[in-house]
Symmetry: C2
Subunit: 90 residues, 2 copies
């Protein structure tokens, strides 16, 4: 199953990203977040902290595994951080 | 058991933080990283990605759970991100 990658920028709203994480968890049991730069990663991690609060009443928690990812943006090579988000039963 | 909190700044070296994460995992089976600001969080998450590579040959992976944390730095209230790092068997 293909998971839609959530591309986050430094201007993304953490609450909106958190909602998108939940939506992806419901559909695919996982979420993938891609960010380029410190500001974008900051929003992604904040969103994950918020999303943990959203899912806690349902009896599970979220954990993430970060990895580097080489990507190409408009012909330029950049290193993105990919966060794979998965469920963990409480 | 008290886990020493690894305080990371934007000037911290991700490889050094990765080494400190491994050391904490060996002693306590977990690590806690605290960062204030996007630059510091960026170094912390990079370190975690590097540390995953260090532990993979030992047959386990690392996952993290981020949370907000209110802290006081020199009389000023700040919001830090706390990353709790735990093992996951492969």
């Amino acid at each position: 199953m293909t998971v839609t990658v959530l591309k986050v920028s430094k201007n993304s709203n953490p609450n909106s990203i958190a909602g998108a994480i939940l939506s992806s968890m419901r559909e695919n049991e996982r979420a993938e977040i891609q960010s380029v730069g410190a500001g974008a990663l900051n929003q992604a991690v904040k969103a994950l902290a918020i999303a943990r609060g959203y899912v806690a009443p349902s009896g599970y928690d979220l954990v993430c595994s970060p990895a580097f990812q080489d990507i190409n943006i408009e012909g330029e090579n950049r290193t993105a951080m990919k966060l794979v988000v998965e469920k963990r039963e409480l």
